[in-house]
Symmetry: C2
DNA sequence: CGCTATTCGTTGAAAATGTCAATGGTTAAG
DNA sequence: CTTAACCATTGACATTTTCAACGAATAGCG
C-alpha cells in the first residue's frame, strides 16, 4: 500500500515564493486539500462535502428552504436541486411545501438521514483532524475563529 | 450603482449551526468568497487567480518547469498548458526548453509580464485587504501563518 | 377585489474546471 | 542499445459553475 505522496514534495524552495504570502492562494490551497481529504473519507458513504453540508443543515435546529440553503452555501439554486435529488433518492431528506409560502420547500431529514449524518460527521471529524494535524489544539481553535470572521 | 448584497444576509440565525464549526466548510466558504473577490478585481486585467498564480511564480526567483508549476499549484499538467497558452498569447511569459533536460520547459516572464504582474499584485492586495477587513493586522498575520502550516 | 411584479423551485444549455488516457520527443538505467 | 520512465501536449469525458427561462405561488397596489 503506497502512501499518497505529497504533491509538492521536493519543492521546498518555493516556500519563500512571494505567492506563498498571499492569503487568497493559501486559502485556495488549504481548502482544496482539505475538501479533497474530506471527499475521500466521505466516499465510503457515497457522499461529497456538498451533500454533507446540506444534510448537516437539514439536521440542524432551523427549518430551511432551498433558497436559504442556496444562499448560505453560496451555491446556485439549481445545484441545490441536484444535491437534494440525490439525498431524497437515498431517503435521507424530504421536501415539504412550506405551509406559510407554498412556493418554498422546507428540507427535513428522515430518520435514516439523521443516522447517515451521524456517520458522516465522524468521517469529517477524522478528516479535519488529519488536515489540521500540523496545528496545536489552540491553533486549530484560533484558525476556526479567524475563518469564521472572514467567512461571514 | 448597487452594492453586491451579502449572499447570506438575513441568515444570522445559522451562525450557530453545527456546520459552522467545521473547518472544511469554513475554509471552502472563505476561499470561495476570497477568490471570487480577487477574480472580480483581476477581471479588469483579463486575468483570473489561476493566471495570476502562474505569473507570480514565473516572476519569482526560481526557474520553474511546467511540471513543477503543476505540482505546486495542484493543477493537472494539462491545465497548466491552457493557462500558459493564454499567458504566452498575451506575451506575458515564454516557454524555454530546459537546456539540462530538453523534455522540460522553463517558464520565464517577459518585460510585459513583469509589468502585468506588478499591476495584478496591487489588485490582489486590494482584494485581500477587503476580504480580511474583519480582521486586525495581527489577526491577518496569524491567519496567514496558520494557513501556511496547513497548506504545506 | 383584480393586475402586475416578484419570488420559488425546476429545467436545460453553455461555459469553466477537473480528471484521465494516449502520444511524440527526450532522458535514465541497465 | 534497448527498455523503462518522464515531460509537455492533445483530446475525450465527467463534474461544477453560471445563466436564462418557465410554471406555480405570493406580494403590492390600484
Amino acid at each position: 500500500m503506497t502512501m499518497p505522496t505529497d504533491p509538492s514534495a521536493g519543492l521546498e524552495r518555493l516556500l519563500e515564493a512571494e505567492l506563498t504570502t498571499e492569503p487568497v492562494f493559501l486559502m485556495a490551497r488549504a481548502a482544496s486539500t482539505g475538501s479533497s481529504a474530506a471527499n475521500r473519507k466521505l466516499a465510503q458513504l457515497e457522499l461529497k462535502v456538498r451533500h454533507y453540508s446540506v444534510l448537516a443543515l437539514a439536521c440542524g435546529e432551523e427549518q430551511l428552504t432551498q433558497r436559504e440553503l442556496s444562499q448560505f452555501l453560496v451555491l446556485d439554486p439549481s445545484q441545490i436541486v441536484a444535491i437534494l435529488d440525490d439525498l431524497e433518492r437515498r431517503g435521507a431528506v424530504e421536501r415539504r411545501t412550506d405551509p406559510r409560502d407554498r412556493r418554498s420547500k422546507i428540507i427535513a431529514p428522515t430518520a435514516a438521514g439523521r443516522k447517515l449524518y451521524a456517520q458522516a460527521r465522524v468521517l469529517v471529524e477524522d478528516s479535519t483532524a488529519e488536515s489540521l494535524s500540523p496545528l496545536s489544539p489552540a491553533e486549530r481553535e484560533e484558525l476556526s475563529r479567524l475563518l469564521k470572521k472572514v467567512a461571514f
